[in-house]
């Protein structure tokens, strides 16, 4: 994750040191960013303006126009995704906690219950990173190859989080307890020294003190408070040739193993008293040591006295000795600081630590090339904000989760930066979300983090939510989408519906109604393209997009024009059920609903026609006209279709009054056509008989006129309103 690095794209377009040649060739470099995952698409473009392609074809090969894709983030691998997913649960728990705190008042987090819960969650993070470390360290044996992040990366997270917990999230009631032992425990777990191999090596020797690693090992063990190892090797000195050393080592041994430890005392007072007594014994030992004559202080290899003096110096807690020993051993500032809390100032408090650390760091600075070391130093130094900078450098995950906890613990500024509008926490959490966005499959987690970051986070999440890929589209027989390829169109749409449902649910959860509507409108568009008009309609109504609903209905009506009544009734069958639902919806706008009702009724009419249910068909036709459901553009078409019913020989299907209405409508069409707006009334009729002119359409309508004339003649013969005319009440409604 070397974000500031430079990448040479492959295949390179110019040799090293010839960047200028590129421009000379008449090309410039352009790029664009993918909304999917921030991938850059980089391409060599023509140097506009106005260069004719012939001018530079000689310079580059014409069949080589590459587009490169590059990303600043590595998409999380499966093991990393697992880590991200599982830790997001802990993050959510902490969110719940802060939300509860908001409800119960800020002081709630400061009391015992709140503090214990925060600590528990911190421990959860620590334990989880530990698991990951163990898992990753076993990974090389896995068949899928080495994991994306090395075990050392997770070790580093584990160490940083643990240190944070030791220094800033102590057990409730122990905030003000001496911190030395806890720090020593942390150091011994995460930075193991001296190594077991060295110990094994030395313990196999007859005279280990003759080995050059003997004294360094012994001093390191002492420095680390590893009394067992130290006592063991001090014990071997009982075989040393020097009588003084034999005697002194015999006295050191019990002192090493009897150093008072805070955890063994019920009160700090007792601990302090015991420590004092113990220190006195060390003093006695020092006096005795000083009594050894200069001449006797050397054995055949070394000046044992100096070495033992260093050891006693550590136990005495002499700062300068500890620092010197550490420098000799190649140990860093951490070891000095920790030893300080164990030997020099056994009652060192957390709040006093920065003073000591600052002094030590001046002489033994941390390694600036090692972000982990820098981060530890900042934590020791009581500078959480600085620690975050380094944490984010190690892993945006660490920056985000530490910042989240730090804000809850009031360790960092809560106020937003005036310039950016972001608090420290939100900055780091959003940076992490930005990283998560490199993997579109993680959109749920991405938005969850974003939604925790105030207005800026919420609006950022909106952008991500609206773009959750659902563009599974048909490409011939092949469907390309995020999942497996299928040849079955319906399962593809089921997928789409599932994604839309998911996004919808998320929008509901975070109350993002505007985004939800956008997503519904897009879904409706896709469903229209797939001719899933029923679904399209319900998404339009879910988005309360009434003009959109109108357009869907128009598309269905076009199906009639394009494909005829059978297809049309089939499609209407899928939209009819939504009519009822839409009608009851408040705010549904009349005109578009009107068109939907027409589509449904018109399909019914065709269904009846097909079933030879002519009475009802005629009734439908009349009621559509009487209720003014028929859009003007359809008048011509429907009047044309009425011919078969009017000409029906067996019975008269229309009442005299109805026939009059038909005639009225017919006349209106002719009159308007005369006035030049025939298009308005005949558009559909013209579209239906493809390529026909206005005149053709009018000619066709003449047939209806003739049929009506005959119909009136029949009515007259039989007698107006005669018995053979169907006396039916027109059934209204669906």
């Amino acid at each position: 994750m070397n974000v500031t690095g430079h990448l040479g794209l492959f295949p390179p377009l110019v040799p090293p040191g010839h960047a200028g040649d590129f421009l000379q060739s008449g090309r410039v470099l352009l790029s664009t960013t993918s909304p999917l995952n921030d991938t850059l698409a980089v391409f060599a473009a023509a140097n506009v303006p106005g260069v004719q392609s012939s001018q530079h074809t000689a310079v580059y090969s014409s069949d080589d126009q590459p587009i490169f894709f590059a990303s600043s983030e590595v998409t999380p691998s499966s093991e990393r995704r697992l880590f991200i997913g599982d830790t997001s649960i802990i993050f959510a728990a902490l969110q719940n906690l802060t939300n509860t705190a908001r409800a119960r008042g800020p002081e709630w987090l400061q009391n015992e219950e709140g503090q214990r819960m925060i600590r528990k969650l911190a421990m959860d993070y620590i334990n989880f990173t530990k698991e990951c470390w163990i898992h990753a360290s076993q990974a090389p044996s896995q068949p899928e190859g080495s994991p994306q992040f090395s075990d050392d990366h997770y070790r580093s997270l584990y160490a940083c989080l643990s240190l944070f917990a030791v220094l800033y999230v102590p057990e409730y009631g122990f905030e003000d307890a001496p911190v030395g032992d806890d720090l020593m425990e942390w150091l011994n777990i995460h930075f193991i020294e001296p190594s077991t191999e060295e110990g094994d090596h030395l313990s196999g020797l007859e005279r280990p003190w003759q080995d050059e690693t003997f004294w360094p090992y012994l001093l390191r063990a002492t420095l680390r408070g590893l009394s067992k190892a130290a006592t063991f090797f001090i014990g071997t000195l009982s075989r040393h040739s020097s009588a003084d050393l034999r005697r002194l080592s015999g006295q050191v041994s019990p002192l090493l193993s009897s150093q008072p430890r805070l955890q063994n005392f019920s009160t700090e007072r007792d601990f302090a008293y015991a420590s004092h007594r113990w220190k006195d014994k060390i003093k006695t030992l020092r006096i005795e040591m000083d009594g050894v004559p200069e001449a006797d202080r050397q054995d055949e290899f070394d000046n044992w006295w100096d070495r033992l003096s260093d050891l006693i110096g550590i136990l005495e807690g002499r700062g300068e000795v500890i620092q010197k020993v550490c420098e000799d051993l190649g140990a860093d500032w951490k070891e000095v600081c920790v030893a300080w809390g164990v030997f020099t100032d056994t009652r060192l408090r957390r709040q006093d630590l920065p003073d000591i650390v600052a002094r030590i760091l001046e002489e033994m600075p941390p390694d600036p090339t090692n972000p982990e070391d820098m981060m530890h130093a900042a934590l020791f130094n009581g500078d959480p904000a600085r620690a975050l900078i380094h944490a984010a450098h190690i892993d945006p995950w660490l920056g985000a989760h530490l910042a989240d906890m730090m804000e809850v613990l009031s360790l960092i500024e809560i106020e937003a930066n005036e310039e950016s509008g972001l608090s420290l926490r939100n900055h780091y959490v959003l940076s992490y979300a930005q990283y998560l966005h490199s993997d579109p499959a993680l959109w749920r987690i991405t938005v969850a983090y974003m939604f925790s970051c105030g207005e800026i986070g919420i609006r950022s999440a909106d952008e991500v939510l609206a773009r959750v890929p659902m563009g599974l589209r048909r490409t011939g027989d092949k469907l390309i989408g995020s999942g497996e390829k299928t040849t079955e169109g319906t399962s593809n749409l089921t997928d789409l519906a599932r994604v839309v449902k998911d996004v919808n649910a998320t929008c509901y959860e975070y109350q993002r109604e505007e985004v939800r509507r956008v997503v519904c409108r897009i879904a409706a568009q896709i469903f229209v393209q797939e001719k899933e008009y029923g679904l399209a309609l319900s998404y339009c109504s879910s988005a309360e997009d009434w003009p959109g609903l109108g357009r869907v209905v128009d598309r269905v009506l076009e199906e009639y024009i394009d494909a005829g009544p059978d297809q049309f009734t089939h499609y209407v069958a899928s939209i009819a059920p939504s009519l009822q639902a839409v009608r009851t919806q408040p705010g549904a706008q009349g005109i578009f609903i009107h068109r939907l009702i027409f589509a449904v009724r018109y399909a019914e009419f065709h269904q009846r026609l097909k079933n030879q249910d002519l009475y009802d068909a005629a009734a439908d036709l009349m009621s559509m006209f009487q209720e003014d459901l028929v859009p003007k553009s359809w008048w011509g078409a429907i009047l044309c279709e009425a011919v078969t019913l009017i000409q029906h020989n067996a019975v008269l299907l229309f009442s005299y009054a109805s026939a009059c209405i038909l005639l009225q409508r017919l006349e209106e069409v002719f009159t308007r056509a005369d006035q030049g707006s025939g298009d308005d009334y005949l558009r559909v009729l013209m579209a239906k008989s493809k390529g026909s002119t206005l005149q053709d359409a009018l000619t066709r309508l003449q047939a209806t006129r003739l049929a009506l004339a005959k119909y009136f003649a029949r009515c007259a013969m039989i007698g107006t309103g005669g018995k053979q005319i169907a006396e039916r009440r027109f059934s209204v409604g669906v």
Partner: protein, 427 residues
Amino acid sequence: MIQTGLIQSAHNDLVTDVSYDFYGLRLATCSLDQRIKVWQLDESNGNWSVEDDWKAHDAAVSKLSWAHPEFGTILASSSFDRTVKVWEQTSYGAQGESQPNGASQQQPTPSSSRWMERAVLVEARGTVRAVEFAPHHFGLKLATISSDNQLRIYECLEQSSLSNWQLSEEVDVLALPSSSSQSSHSVAFATPTQTSAALDSASASLVAQALQQSQAPFGQSRPGMGNREADGGWCISWCKDRYWGELIATGCGISGVIKIIQISPSRRPATLLALTLDASPASHAVSSETTTAADADVPTPYAVTSVAWAPSCGRSYHLIATGSRDGHVRIWRVKPSEDGDVDDGEGGDPKWTGSVVADFDHHKSAVGRVEWNITGTVLSSAGNDGRVRLWKATVGNVWRPAGSVGVEQTEDQQDADVNMDENVVAD
């Protein structure tokens, strides 16, 4: 930075623009070869495959823009042939009235989708350099900028057919006063009538040309020297936020100024703010009145060739990035007035302010493109040094380099962690 893919050969001639769709799952590319290709991403392996390919214009295609998907699958292309075309993808079997684009007849594509030419917008009197659909909440609209200095806004009148586009605004960007004056008096003084605006534009572009020829251009990045097409309108970028109404940042000519133009149905377009490095914006305003200024000591003129308005994402301010021929990438922080509600009367527009919050000359040569990511947190800039650079804000809100990619072979290219074979798309 890592390389994640490669299309080895996208077109038969130089590519002119590449544009991702709303989701980033498709890519539209255009080229000097007058064709448009649409590519589809296979998410399982990161490969791109051609979905459609057709001859779109009678000259090189300059830029592409996807409409918001709630309007359907719609693409607009601008061209050196002085037109903008609107294309719609239809699935196979849906018979529109217009004929499918010509490409399919010459060489059958594997896909069943067809891109239909729905509209041709022919008003431009010069190369159309850029086209961009407006944010979806303003409806189906698009803006174009061309070498005739005109910013044009088109509105689709019939969404179902996409065939009827109304030219709702036509603005001579150079002639438009640089700053919106509070008093109606000075507006009357500075705003030319529609007819004189056209005259102004002609004279202004002559001025621009004269400037260009009298001054040594920056670097050697001006192959169009002496060519009328070399200047004129360069770039546009819509404000993505709904709250402030229809705003568009526009770069035109070689004055180094970006004008933020407010489009409103009730009033004529006006400059809300001019982003200029000079303390007094008026001195940079290229209008017919400044002809005399051309002879005086004018700073080396340069064109701002790319502008990008960041999605504001809930921020209380706007970020606008510019890339220009002077080799600089600049980030402007633009703030609507705090006390916008002081008076609502005539001329009581909130006073907008802009300041440069980052200015980088790392490219050391003309910057061709700047672009933001979807949350406005990462800026990318592409320069003639053959590099694309990324920029991010630190926790202290200081913009810093955040990586780069380049086409120059690096020393350690052999060791580069690039797995080529899987991503090569042979076409």
